[in-house]
Symmetry: C2
Amino acid sequence: MAKHQAPTMKDVAREAGVALGTVSRVINGITVGDEYKKKVEAAIKKLNYQVNTYARGLKTSQTKTLTLIIPSLALPFYANFAYEIEQQTYQHGRKLILCCSNGIPEKEIDYISLASQSKTDGIIALTYSDISNQVPEDIPLIVFDRHFENRSVPRIASDNFAGGFLAIEKLLEFGCTHPIFIGYHSDFPGEADKRFEGFQAACKKFELKPTFLYESDDNDSYETLYNFIVSHQDKDTHTLDFDGIFANTDLEACAAVRILDDLNYSVPADVQIIGFDGTKKFLPIDEYIVSTIVQPLPALAKKCVEMILNAENEPLPTLTLLPVTYEYGGTTIK
Amino acid sequence: MAKHQAPTMKDVAREAGVALGTVSRVINGITVGDEYKKKVEAAIKKLNYQVNTYARGLKTSQTKTLTLIIPSLALPFYANFAYEIEQQTYQHGRKLILCCSNGIPEKEIDYISLASQSKTDGIIALTYSDISNQVPEDIPLIVFDRHFENRSVPRIASDNFAGGFLAIEKLLEFGCTHPIFIGYHSDFPGEADKRFEGFQAACKKFELKPTFLYESDDNDSYETLYNFIVSHQDKDTHTLDFDGIFANTDLEACAAVRILDDLNYSVPADVQIIGFDGTKKFLPIDEYIVSTIVQPLPALAKKCVEMILNAENEPLPTLTLLPVTYEYGGTTIK
DNA sequence: CTGTTAGCGCTTTCAC
DNA sequence: GTGAAAGCGCTAACAG
């Protein structure tokens, strides 16, 4: 334990009595004479040698590193997505650099530039600004759950349109006669906007009057929603003029449950509610927090990582949509 | 836009008509003649040059990268901690490598070795095995919320003991006469174990009979808890022999709320409950999910990052405990 | 199949 | 002050 410096390949070579290149070959699994191999491996073990990925990265310009840009980890959806991405990244022998942008465009761009300095092997981004022209051409980019106008960058998402449609189908199947839509959206366009489009399409198909609250996201979303629901009460009978809610996200579904409860309506007896995302309860038992359209997060993450790692081999599809499913979570009859 | 390769310092030097070293100096903020500086900056802008952090890292063996090892992001506590760490990391101009070990020792060790290959500038770890001797001496390590037996590695945590004590104090203050403790613990020792010790100390001080469920974590925790509560019902009157619960985590507090509700007890009228961690509700409004002892996550994360970045300048304290606070969350009278 | 060697892009002496 | 040059630890091309 004399030297304080980490051993280098040179040290290993000297210890094993072979040339530098031979050590490199052993490490990279290139055919090497058995005798040599043994000696090198012994030396590696003895010195506790580890490759310096920075030196290797400099040579190969492959950093074995993926970058994820996501607004935050505060929402379970984001946290779970990040988690799944990390698991996939690990499985593919890569490291994950996590960037939480808080949805701030400047930070998003800053992260991109950091990532490109670090010569990351690929970027998976869920952003609220169009970062596509900030990303150097030579580094693969995949956009999750969003789409940009001015460049055809590959994007991956759930089939939000089908999900919106499915939610209404389910609500009708469960006996609702007037399902409505509630939700907030970012000003920046994203795949999630298609949920509302799916709702509208379903209304058209089933000849329903499309009633909805669909506003720009703000800080008073809870209050706006409260007022919206109250405005749909009959003044005298206090009956609601709707009997089903498709909420843009589980978060809004939860808010609706709470408000309806405060207003002394019963869920699902008076109003059935279906959310979107597939958020689980905070309990040691496995239940959805509301009845919901579940996004296939593990599959989505798998696709993201596999595609980005495949980017240099073949051209990537511009859009990849994965199917969603309905799951019961207590806010519908089944 | 002829060349497909990212520009190097050499390119900038040629473009600016200066020497390589001069460019380096400009970039690193070392005094350089005004004329030169301007020329270099112009060239940088023109070529859209960015330093290659891998080349720099190779030279300086400073990678401007921190590594976080955490079981997962599935629990809000982990997710929020990871988020806060990321924010701090960014603020200090570093990147964060996220490693979710699922609490599997082999994975934890694997991550350590990946991290040391990558010459990370520091590791913040919340692990379920003693990784301390896996970490090379020259890379700073801070352990969050845990402690290892066989080496004095700096650790940071909330004051769990004080939190446990405080919970009982609060319960008594709110009129409870027989508060009990429920919780599960990992077999691997951690700072969180002190919550139970705080509970025991409070029982001694206030002369309470210490009643508790404190078992090794398993898959049937919900059922075990259910049976435990039922076993404390009076056969005839159905009265419970306790009137307050301090739960080891908010998760267990939630489980207790649910079970008591199923059993037709009222929270907080019949039983008051205090959890631990400070988990927020999944709603667009800011409320705690249960009454709880809140861990100062942002402060904790700040401490972790600051300490690890300071590790080479001064010796780190072995233990740093940050104060917790009580917050109302609906499962107590106030 | 192995040893030698040139450089990846950068920082940092060292002369000037 | 600036330029030239050595070298961080590794890979890959080349010669043997």
